[in-house]
């Protein structure tokens, strides 16, 4: 998973949408725990800025 910080608005839409709570965010940083990630794609689709991507997401 990749987060493009030049697009990210740090709004937390991805954090609240993640069904397994594997996204962490503070004011300047966003971290996705790839070990817990279930590849549901919620964060990629919910991100209003289109800042999250992954090679497995078409």
């Amino acid at each position: 998973m990749k987060v493009d910080t030049s697009k990210c608005n740090y709004c937390g839409a991805c954090v609240g949408s993640c069904p397994v709570n594997c996204i962490f965010l503070d004011e300047t940083r966003i971290v996705i725990d790839e070990n817990s990630c279930t590849k549901c794609g919620f964060c990629i689709r919910v991100c209003p800025m289109g800042a999250i991507s992954a090679e497995w997401f078409e």
Partner: protein, 397 residues
């Protein structure tokens, strides 16, 4: 460092500040922590609020945070040939003010401070502290220094992101159909009617709507919410908004001076919003109105109830889940659950209507003089013009 308080409120939005205000007023020792350096900023909100609930939380509108007062709302169908006009009183005071949320949030935090609550900014909660499997405090990164704050009651007011609820194992998981992704531009130099909040329904915003909330004569928040289950690609919600603006010359000529993003939940009230020593308020408790996406009113109302319940629980020396359910959650349900559930059903219904059906509905409703907005008066109007449509809504009654 170790600190001890009666009540620890995590998050200084409207829900947190109201909880801190009412708990502190009762004489409790209260700390409210906020991860941001600047309470209320950046804004994550469309900034439209209704008026009816303000007295319930002892709030008087202040010039510093009221940006504009509107006469009513207009609801446009996909063809935009006509619209439904709801005046503020007919809409049950669902419309009213366009506010400056950053100023509003700071104003509420100041109310809490004046009641005696301590406030730490730039102080995110990084984890909860457990003893015997019960939450007894939180670890806070206070402007860089990690400190432990112990409290008898912990109030999770940390918004849609809702870490406190998850850490405390309160199930506030939301399904994708009940999550709405939002983006909004604050635009200037546009053609709008300053006296109305405008809503656009249909395929321009699947499972949500486009809003234009006027902040001045040529200035408005132009935003969109789209249901997550209708979004297939990355960056799609922004494209929906850009396409809408592109189709409207009066908006297209404007300039954007701010981009605001976020997500809201549009689900029924969760099974539980408390656990031992912990209460959730506002967006963290998923108390956003499922049809309007409005969260400020319910955050304030639940915040007050939680602040007062904190006093009751501490006074009774009983901060158990069962007692908090009784003195807080039950009151939230009594106050909000009925309307919340009805609006959730209405949202589910609206989200599956075709553009064609929406055009007919709005056409039928806009052609009659509405003296009051009731389900019956609306259905009668539709029955008259498009009797075949009424069947689709019978189960809403």
């Amino acid at each position: 460092m170790r600190y001890e308080y009666d009540v620890l409120v995590i998050g200084a939005g409207p829900g947190g500040s109201m909880a801190a205000r009412y708990a502190a007023r009762k004489g409790l020792k209260v700390l409210m922590v906020e991860k941001r350096p600047d309470i209320g900023s950046p804004v994550r909100c469309g900034e439209g609020i209704s008026k009816s609930w303000l007295p319930e939380v002892e709030l008087e509108p202040q010039p510093i945070w009221v940006s504009n007062e509107v006469e009513g709302a207009r609801i446009f169908p996909p063809d935009e040939k006509t619209f439904i006009k709801l005046s503020a009183n007919k809409a049950g005071n669902e419309v009213g003010y366009i506010i400056e949320r950053d100023k509003f949030d700071k104003y509420l935090a100041a109310l809490a401070a004046r009641e005696g609550a301590d406030i730490w900014v730039k102080s995110p909660a990084i984890s909860l502290i457990f003893e015997d499997k019960k939450v007894v405090g939180a670890r806070i990164r206070r402007q860089g220094e990690v400190v432990d704050v112990f409290a008898k009651i912990i109030i999770g007011a940390d918004g849609f992101e809702s870490q406190v609820g998850r850490w405390a194992k309160i199930n506030t998981m939301v399904k994708d159909r009940d999550i709405v992704s939002c983006i909004e531009y604050r635009m200037v130099g546009i053609d709008i009617d300053k006296n109305f909040t405008d809503f656009y329904l249909g395929s321009c915003a699947p499972g949500g709507y486009v809003w234009v909330f006027p902040k001045g004569k040529d200035e408005a928040n132009v935003g969109i919410g789209v249901a997550l289950n209708k979004l297939k690609k990355s960056g799609e919600v922004k494209k929906y908004l850009d396409d809408f603006i592109e189709r409207h010359p009066g908006l297209k000529k404007g300039k954007t001076i701010e981009i605001i993003t976020g997500a809201v939940s549009t689900c029924p009230v969760p099974q539980s919003i408390v656990t031992d020593n912990v209460m959730l308020v506002g967006d963290a408790a998923r108390l956003i109105d499922p049809i309007t996406g409005g969260g400020v009113a319910n955050a304030c109302i639940s915040g007050r109830l939680a602040g007062e319940a904190a006093y009751e629980a501490i006074r009774s020396k009983n901060t158990s889940k069962e007692f908090l359910k009784e003195i807080y959650e039950k009151k939230v349900r009594e106050k909000l659950e009925r309307k919340h559930l009805r609006n959730w059903f209405a949202k589910e219904k609206l989200s599956v209507l075709s553009d064609e059906t929406l055009n007919k509905l709005v056409d039928a409703i806009s052609s009659v003089e509405l003296t009051s907005i009731s389900v019956k008066s609306l259905l009668d109007a539709v029955q008259k013009k498009y009797p075949e449509l009424v069947k689709e809504f019978e189960d809403l009654i």
